[in-house]
């Protein structure tokens, strides 16, 4: 299906990432955003509020993040594409209801413009420390898809992709951007509507009385209907069967039976290969591979250039989808390369996944950064250099001591100057 021309503000613009995401959401067919202002994501909400009424879409500013995500869940089941926009602290508040979304399989998108944390942290500056939270933040077992764009153009493109994935797999899709990308102004090309591919909702078309809201198709994803279409829906956040009825019978519980929650993880895990999108470059003869995502990728490019100038063979792997994690790819690379270098704007999150998937075959070097800024490319270049030289297999994540750390704790950094 193609996008509706009414929704697409075709043209070439100079805009920041947040604004691009707002345009992307509308172009993807989003008809409802329930949001709550939080720095640095607000511009996305403002943009949508401005452009939505001219395209028959609605923006409502709810009383808090819990309200906005709950309203998004409701709007999703009313039959429209929905999204909410937030940043770290708001994201933490949404955790319970993200679990509900996974359970009632409501397709929705969350745009998280990450900032420095924990807690209130550094609201106006960047961070990448919500990556594990996006995967594990709600209680119980579930799987999500997370995408990490690195430019305003990608915030437009991948917002559309996020909507498509959420409709296809009926699961929460997180756009894990960060303040740097959100507030970065660049050229953004919004293509004509006929060039934008839109995934329609998987509506059920059979006889009403035969409809089972949680009966999966071949790819483990069930078909949806709209609330108020006379299907007599029963949808619950409790563990439920295909009819949607809660599993309450004590006897039934003890028995060996497939739990429907199993499917919630399987529908992503078994389709992972179709979902994962990577960008690799210079892998053929690489000795060291830099694994990065989001804004760190753009910084890493400079670091890699510097290392290559010294004659080191460096591969560059960018995770466009961070979750589901590309286990196979990392394992495959691990058997070929000496080491992975992982720069991320946190003190170690995705690096543990890289460590896990490398199965002891390659060293793993973490270049941490607490947030409120990006890496120094020299740190990345030096870490690459070190990783090439290191002969021993080191049985832990090697934490690179960055220039910033040395400056703050050993150099002359004075607070309150």
């Amino acid at each position: 299906m193609k996008a509706n021309p009414r929704d697409v503000n075709t043209g070439t613009y100079y805009m920041d990432g947040d604004v691009a995401a707002g345009h992307g959401a509308l172009a993807a067919g989003c008809r409802f955003i329930g949001g709550y202002p939080i720095t640095p994501s607000t511009e996305a909400a403002e943009t949508f509020a401005r452009i939505a009424p001219k395209a028959g879409a609605v923006f409502i500013q709810m009383e808090d993040e819990l309200g906005s995500i709950a309203s998004v869940m409701g709007a999703s089941w009313s039959g429209v594409k929905t999204m909410t926009i937030t940043s770290g602290p708001g994201y933490s508040l949404m955790m319970e209801i993200i679990g509900l979304g996974a359970m009632i399989e409501a397709p929705f998108v969350i745009l998280n413009i990450q900032r420095g944390g924990p807690s209130t942290g550094v609201p106006t500056k960047t961070g990448q420390a919500d990556m594990m939270q996006s995967r594990w933040g709600s209680h119980g077992d579930y799987e999500i898809i997370a995408i990490s764009p690195d430019s305003p153009q990608e915030l437009f493109d991948y917002t559309i992709k996020a909507f498509n994935l959420s409709e296809k797999y009926r699961c929460p899709v997180m756009i894990m951007s960060d303040e740097c990308v959100g507030h970065m102004s660049e050229k953004v090309v919004i293509p004509p509507a006929e060039e934008i591919e839109i995934e329609p909702r998987r509506f059920y078309n059979g006889p009403k009385e035969k409809y089972l809201p949680f009966k999966p198709d071949q790819d483990l994803v069930p078909k949806m209907v709209k609330a108020g279409d006379g299907y007599n829906l029963y949808i619950t956040g409790l563990v439920h069967d295909e009819r949607g009825y809660p599993i309450t019978n004590q006897k039934e519980k003890g028995k060996r039976q497939q739990f429907p929650t199993r499917r919630l993880v399987d529908k992503i895990r078994l389709n992972a290969d179709k979902i994962i999108e990577l960008n690799e470059e210079g892998m053929d003869d690489a000795e060291v591979v830099v694994v990065s995502y989001g804004i760190s990728y753009r910084v890493a490019i400079r670091g890699i250039e510097k290392a290559r100038e010294k004659g080191i063979k460096v591969g560059n792997l960018r995770l466009i989808t961070v979750w589901p994690f590309p286990d196979k790819k990392i394992t495959e690379l691990a058997s070929k390369v000496k080491a992975f270098v992982v720069p991320e704007i946190n003190y170690g999150q995705i690096v543990f996944e890289v460590e896990r998937c490398s199965h002891g075959q390659a060293n793993v070097v973490l270049i941490p950064h607490g947030g409120a800024g990006v890496h120094n490319p020299d740190d990345i270049a030096e870490a690459i250099e070190y990783a090439v030289k290191e002969k021993k297999k080191i049985r832990k994540v090697i934490e690179w001591k960055t220039r910033l750390e040395k400056f703050v704790f050993e150099g002359g950094y004075k607070l309150n100057k």
Partner: protein, 281 residues
């Protein structure tokens, strides 16, 4: 930075009450929060309460930064949860007097639930709510206090939701002391704060404040001084007015005054009464 006050002559009576090492503050020219803080400091001095047993909690936002400038035990917490945080402090140590100083978005929007529940429980605290009709820290989004048809960045075509009448909400949830002043009414605000500080129970003082940077700019209302002039010409003091008549529209008359002053057992009173009852069993 050079110390602001160099000689003894320069010492200001507020120096003991404010963290002078953090001045200059972050508020914009024309903002009313500074005035509210001055009134608060003066109120503290006037109330003559034990300042070591007094603490202040703020949430997030422009007004949320107040805790950082007041020289009491001070907490800058998460968005909307200042009252909940303060409830913990008050109940764990009832000897303390807790002041919650925050904005309309923080206290009434995201913190609305804690606001009504703390009022219902009648937790012993003073809530000073600076109402500037907008989310200023994040850049001028519509707030639950934004008057109908008023512009804000997330209501680019005019606000479509009726605003809260904060004194009415506080009153109907059970607050024992409710007053409203503007940033112009410094002396009355000071007196009100001093009075409320001595009152046991949940007290609410709403302070209408100009936001020259966002609210006034987006709605073309001039600068801080223009807003002050507006307050001067368009406020009316009506003590004891029924709280349901206190709605504020876009640039309409604002009724100020002390509206509610009543007695109710505080949470700790009821708790202790209940506790002594169970001990007998």
């Amino acid at each position: 930075m050079e110390p602001l006050r160099k000689t003894e002559k320069d010492i200001h009576p507020m120096d003991d009450l404010l963290r002078m090492d953090r001045i200059p503050h972050i508020w914009c020219p024309g903002c009313g929060i500074g005035t509210a803080v001055t009134a608060f400091a003066a109120g503290l001095a006037k109330a003559e309460i034990d300042l070591t047993k007094t603490c202040i909690v703020s949430g997030i936002g422009c007004t949320g930064r107040v805790a950082g400038y007041v020289k009491l035990d001070s907490f800058h917490t998460t968005h909307g949860r200042a009252i909940a945080f303060a409830t913990g402090i008050q109940v764990a140590n009832p000897d303390l007097k807790v002041i919650v100083f925050s904005g309309d978005g923080d206290l009434i929007s995201i913190g609305g639930n804690h606001f009504i529940h703390a009022a219902r429980r009648n937790i012993n605290m003073l809530v000073i709510c600076v109402n500037n009709f907008i989310y200023a820290m994040t850049g001028g989004q519509v707030a639950p206090t934004t008057p109908l048809a008023t512009y804000a960045t997330t209501s680019p075509f005019g606000c479509v939701e009726p605003p809260f009448n904060i004194p009415y909400l506080a009153d109907s949830s059970g607050a024992v002391y409710v007053a409203r002043w503007t940033a112009l009414h410094v002396r009355r605000l000071t007196n009100s704060i001093a009075e409320a500080l001595k009152k046991p129970g949940f007290s609410v003082i709403e302070v209408i404040s100009p936001c020259a940077m966002y609210y006034s700019r987006i709605n073309r209302l001039g600068d801080g001084l223009d807003m002050m002039k507006f307050y001067h010409d368009n406020t009316e003091i009506r003590h004891g007015e029924d709280t349901k008549n206190l709605d504020i529209g876009f640039q309409t008359k604002i009724i100020v005054g002390k509206f509610v002053d009543r007695e109710r057992p505080t949470y700790m009173d009821s708790y202790n009464k209940w506790l002594s009852g169970t001990k007998k069993d």
